[in-house]
């Protein structure tokens, strides 16, 4: 019985509005500081520091790190629990409240989707020379260790993602040609060396496709007499090795190409318009924010119209 009461008290706290407000205020402080810090850390560094992991770490002058604030992941986790608990406790089927429920349900979908995206999606870049082709894209924020054995007809490649390269760990997978001990501390730098007939390479993580993307041309237009960019567009040719499908496409700003679960966006260019850089995104949970948005917008619309109508009715009655 005592245990039951304790459980109820915890549940009550978890479902309370006070917790919601505290979390929202903390999220505001977090986003505000992250936005200011982005100037120093850049987008990627800011995201890593404030929103990934469970805590925000602050470096002391001695170089030691101390936790100072809950991170985005942590807070959104608590908010999600808070929301679900509140729903479980307070849900009543009431016309007057349907909008509010829909908004919060949408929020749950959004948070779940954000979590899934965090764990499942990949983002990488595909730089292509005009006239050249690419079969893989690279994630410059992550490294991998590739072991390459050159053969007569084809090379054999084993690649180990950064997440598996835990310092001090011994990688002894049967599929690997030999066991590897990860050094206690290693630099995340591109380099390569040779061990017997194998070549070992530390490089940006690659995502291979079983189709090739050839850049036929790249256009970069500016408004006449200005340096304001008017248009970036890459004309590409895609060849699918699996199905034999062949097609042309134009990728431009706000006009991405979707192909076999990946989306190709015009991101940037280099070497004086000779290289076009495409952003390649694979996000199996892309639908979540769309569903969530519709739910939240409809919910708010329902709720506020309901209030407004009631208010106007009361006014006309007076």
């Amino acid at each position: 019985m005592n245990k039951y009461l304790k459980f109820r008290r915890i549940f009550k706290t978890l479902s309370s509005l006070e917790l919601t407000i505290i979390c929202l205020v903390l999220v505001m402080i977090l986003i505000f500081s992250a936005t200011l810090d982005q100037v120093h850390l850049g987008l990627y560094g800011m995201q890593k520091k404030y929103f990934e992991g469970w805590l925000v770490w602050w470096p002391l002058r001695s170089g030691q790190l101390i936790p100072v604030f809950p991170s985005g992941l942590f807070l959104s986790g608590i908010l999600l629990v808070n929301l679900v608990c509140a729903h479980a406790v307070r849900f009543r089927f009431q016309a007057a409240k349907m909008g509010i429920w829909l908004v919060h349900l949408g929020l749950i979908v959004l948070l779940v989707g954000a979590g899934l995206t965090h764990f499942l999606s990949t983002e990488s870049q595909m730089p292509i020379h005009v006239g050249g082709a690419a079969v893989y894209s690279e994630d410059v924020n992550e490294i991998e260790l590739a072991i390459i054995k050159q053969g007569k007809e084809y090379d054999q490649i084993w690649s180990i993602p950064e997440a598996r390269l835990v310092p001090g760990q011994i990688l002894n997978d049967l599929l690997l040609p030999f066991p590897i001990q990860v050094p206690m501390n290693y630099e995340r730098q591109v380099k390569s060396w040779k061990v017997k007939e194998y070549e070992l390479v530390v490089r940006p993580r690659r995502y291979y496709n079983d189709y090739s993307v050839t850049l036929q041309s790249f256009t970069h237009k500016q408004y006449l007499g200005t340096t304001i960019p008017k248009e970036f567009a890459s004309r590409v040719h895609i060849k699918d090795f699996k199905t034999g499908e062949v097609r042309d496409a134009v990728i431009s700003m706000n006009q991405p190409l979707r192909f076999r679960g990946k989306t190709f966006y015009q991101a940037s260019f280099a070497e004086g318009d000779k290289v076009s850089i495409l952003q390649v995104v694979e996000n199996p949970s892309w639908i979540f924010p769309y569903v969530a948005s519709i739910m939240m917008a409809l919910g708010l619309l329902y709720q506020f119209s309901w209030h407004l109508l009631r208010y106007l009715k009361r006014r006309s009655a007076v």
Binding site: L224, I228, T263, Y265, V281, N283
Partner: protein, 606 residues
Amino acid sequence: MKRWVSWIVLLSAVLWVAYGFVSPYHDAFNLDDFGQFPVLQGGRIKPIDTVARNALLFMNGKQNVRINQDKVLPDVWLLQAMVSPNITDTYPTFRIDHPDVLALIGHKLDDGHAYTFKQILPYVPMIEQQAELARKVEPNQRNAYQRALLLTYQRLMTYFQLKNSLQAEGWRSFDRELMSFQSTLYAGKPLMVAHADPNALSAQDRFVLDGLLVFYKKYQYLAQASFFSPIPPHQVGDEWQSMGSGLMGMFKSNILSPAIISYAELLTAFQDQDSGRFNRAVASYTEYLTKKFPDVMFRMKLETYFNRVAPFYQSMVLYLVVLLLVLVSWLKWPDVLGKTAFRLLLLAFLIHTVGLGLRMYLQGRPPVTNLYSSAVFVGWVAIVIGILLERIHKKGIGTMVSAVIGFLTLIIAHHLSIQGDTLEMMQAVLDSNFWLSTHVVTINMGYGGTFLMGILAHIYIFKSMLSPSFDEAERKSLKSMVFGTACFAIFFSLVGTILGGIWADQSWGRFWGWDPKENGALLIVLWLAIILHARLAGLVKERGLMVMAVFANIVTAFSWFGVNMLGVGLHSYGFMDQAFLWLVLFCFVELFVMWLGFAPQIFKRK
């Protein structure tokens, strides 16, 4: 007597507005039509009048130059800069505020802020050298001095380029220049074709060809130096050309553009102060343009009228008058003055709306395309709500908040317009009318709603401190207004933020990219959500609600302007040094108001 007051105020307002349509030029020269001539500048076809005004605004912060008591109006100034630059060089056209930049040209803050080109000229090499150094620093790492220096340098460049746009600086007469060019070309062109081998030329032929080469080099220089391109395309598919390229085109074809003939004529006439000839040249070129480009000319006409009437300036002044009327109405004649204020508000709002509509038509875009237009639009949205509130609740509160927000947003817009052409072209990433009209518009409606809510809370706080007649009924109606606008604001902020996410997902494959501007919008949504939840949970009462609503102003100001000052992200268009000080000041004032919100309780306890 009371009834008359209302009509007198309204009538004089209408007359004042109508006076804005009257041409400011009383010269013998037909400058009105001259100002409508289309030119290409900054990627957009615009009337010369706009170029002149924006150039002055950019250099000077004002649309005219003041010499003692006289005002030199933009189009006159532009023509003078073309034909007699030695005169405009002595006008105080360059505004310099930074003490270190002033020191560079041997002046102190006390000497004033406006300098002539002639005063700065000896220091130009030094400024150039310093600008070179400053440019090596990454834009968001530059300090205030470097930014001020680069701005001064850009202003000098603009002036220099402008002087070389219709003719080269130093030509005594465009007419004579054209004539001697044509005769040299007439003699030299056959030689160019006939003799590929320079050794086969006679001495006289070589003299002619050398002369032609001098012209070629001169025009090449002119083509590079010019600020705008005044020569319209001759055929479909041609592009607008600078005067230099237009003249260089004569080497290839024999057709002389009517634009060149007309400009040569009217510039020479202006130099000779021959108004008859000037007006004839203007009339014949206008006729040519109207026949060949009727659509363009219609837009030019509209834009010059827009420039002259300055509808946002007019409505800004009217909003201020409305505000005063409401304040007086709370002391005296509440019925008559209240009604007058509301009617005047409607007039101001009408002008505001027409201005907004004209801008949309001229640009062919949804209302918000940059920070300037967002200020104009945020005010507009808030006033729509304010007018509705006035219709529902009466008592002048809706009128008052509308006037305050209209005046403030338009004065902000006015200061933002100094950066240059407010109808600038859109970058490739932002070039999507669909997303501009959905995401950007809804976000700005959210800003408008939030600011309105904040100002309503101000009224509550001030009234509860100062007004002895602030009763329960008024308290209640203000509370419901704040709550209603909070709902309006959270709806549009949330939908706008989500639409921004969808735009990002469509364009970059990332629903949420932590772009500072989007973060700012999210902060507004979060704060509004906190307000609503705190209210529903009973954690705050009426007064707490009001204090929280005031804080929403700080949050909105940060996401509207603050993040643009960070200089990162997709939305960082234009830096704003002085704006930062204003933002900090604004935040302090709002914090003070929040403290005042609690103050009556503090006094009561005593």
